[in-house]
Symmetry: C2
DNA sequence: TTGAAAGCGGTACCAT
DNA sequence: ATGGTACCGCTTTCAA
């Protein structure tokens, strides 16, 4: 039972056919629930397959059918809360739908180009999910001509399906919340302005911030804006800059929860308290926001992965053409930091 | 140039052969740097392949050669700091070595069994890395008979290669540190005692804790031990239990940084301060331990993934037989929480 | 040094 | 309802 075939636990479709006394064609049909198989035959085949612990070889299947039932996800980095949430959401859906999942870290524009070219040329996946990796025109061209199913998360790309949050709205909601709390000197910790991967999220959130200030008759003081890396350390350093000002902000909008964590640390290190001396809020719904008492805007990250995967599967399985752009709701969660 | 073959950007080995005016066999040899190819021939082939943007189809290659150049990593959950660090480390090595990486979340014993059976039967990967997923005997049997390359991380399995930390030592070092700080009532926040996945880490760390107490002539007071889920909430709840005691511990050893974060939150919520009222430390080297001022034992998680992947590749490429068990050093990092 | 051809393990078309 | 068989794109003998 451990190794019925003597070949490392692997049985082929021929073994099953022999065991069931039918042809390989019939086995193939029976196991895939195709029509025109007598139910008694199907039963014999199923039992034979079971007792031999048979699984169709994905590579053989891919070669013969043209479909790999594999999807690949590309993210800028893997060891980040945000991306691992996306992965987890997508993996749950894909495995349930019988798809395998490959992952690639794509930290630079060069790596991104290589990734796309390789995905197109080697065709090892039926579909791609690109997370926070705005594509260059040439890459879009290649993908458009590839008949790969492509979904993007975190950036809009008219050529492909996208799962998005409304970052403008996030910026506005955050700013509005701080305004409502009575703050009028509201600072912002933004992301790197010239990120080599052309990450668009910070720009949009910052724009929402500006819009909301304007609509309240305030002006976005450039001196209250400090850009740092989209990380804990980036937030900490940027916050330190703001706290050094003669007239520092009374509230700060950090563009991610991790930046907010850094900002809270910087504040504490300066001997100031949150929210009394300075209110801080972030964006994400990071799992540690609750215990740190951080006000945040939950953008349901795992859900973004779930939806992208679900829609991609629908696309690949040819069920229904998914919506071109799907927006995930985000909602304010008020905690002690504001 | 975008689509030279008119088939979705895909060129086959035959296209390359035609373009270079040689046979497919020669193309195959030339592109893989096999011997007995005239250098002039190799050059023509290489250029043809380049201009056609040719990549060998991994599935065809797999079918013909028996090697997939794919490795699969199984983790209990994907959206966790620890596992995403491991993934990131492994992915960096694997992609550099020309291996693709598949991932699976394996949250239950049933899922684990299915994962193993499928990996063995479908043979879509040459190698497996099992992270914190102690294997049942039957699963070990199946894998042993499969000639898959298997590495384990986080648990010992004599049949396979393992990357490990010395959890006993970690327990001792942590306890010693708290003892050195003058604490005599040292509590411990352990993991679920009857975890269905038979996660062994908590047991070992707790044993080290007991050993060290004993060696200092203290007795491990069962009342100072509280077990919770291996998570932030688990740590928080367990800590709440300990803080309710008439005579609570003056120091607490949390078996992971996330549990420690929960414990710090619980402490703060009770109006107590760290480390004055109660010292807290964790294990992991979590990226937020620094800003929260948490004393921890860094177990170089990313490095565990790097080493496992590197050794697995060596095993699969038949270079050198890797060491059976590889231990990753861990080191104490003292911060404000103790 | 190179080429021809037999697989690898399935799928899918065409017969029966 | 079932079987025969030509692929899918590559690797790997075996001959030349």
């Amino acid at each position: 039972m451990t190794d019925p075939t003597g070949r490392g636990g692997r049985a082929t479709i021929e073994d099953v056919a022999a065991a069931a006394g039918v042809s390989v064609a019939t086995v193939s049909r029976a196991l895939r629930d195709l029509p025109n198989v007598a139910s008694s035959t199907k039963q014999r085949v199923t039992e034979a397959a079971l007792s031999l612990n048979y699984r169709a070889d994905p590579s053989a299947r891919h070669l013969a059918s043209g479909r790999s039932r594999n999807v690949e996800i590309a993210v800028p980095v893997l060891n980040s809360w945000y991306f691992s949430e996306v992965l987890a959401g997508a993996e749950a859906v894909l495995s349930e739908c019988g798809y395998s999942l490959s992952i690639s870290a794509v930290p630079t524009p060069t790596a991104r180009f290589d990734f796309v070219r390789n995905a197109v040329a080697s065709r090892h996946a039926d579909g791609l999910i690109m997370v926070d990796l705005p594509l260059a025109d040439l890459e879009i061209d290649m993908l458009e001509n590839s008949n790969l199913g492509v979904f993007t998360i975190g950036f809009k790309c008219p050529s492909f399906h996208s799962v998005l949050v409304d970052n403008l709205a996030i910026g506005r909601i955050a700013t509005e919340h701080l305004f409502d709390r009575g703050h009028r000197r509201i600072g912002i910790l933004t992301g790197q302005p010239n990120d080599s991967l052309r990450f668009t999220v910070p720009k949009d959130r910052a724009e929402g911030y500006r819009q909301m200030l304007t609509s309240h008759g305030l002006v976005a003081d450039p001196g209250l804006s400090c850009s740092g890396h989209f990380s804990v350390d980036g937030g900490r350093e940027a916050m330190n800059q703001l706290l050094k000002l003669d007239d520092p902000p009374t509230a700060v909008f950090a563009l991610s929860d991790e930046m907010a964590f850094g900002a809270m640390a910087a504040t504490r290190d300066c001997g100031l308290t949150t929210p009394d001396d300075v209110a801080i809020m972030g964006v994400d719904g990071h799992y540690l926001a609750e215990i740190t008492g951080l006000t945040t805007i939950d953008q349901h990250v795992g859900q973004q992965g779930v939806v992208a995967a679900r829609q991609l599967v629908a696309l690949l399985d040819g069920a229904v053409e998914p919506a071109r752009q799907i927006e995930i709701e985000s909602n304010l969660i008020v905690r002690g930091s504001t």
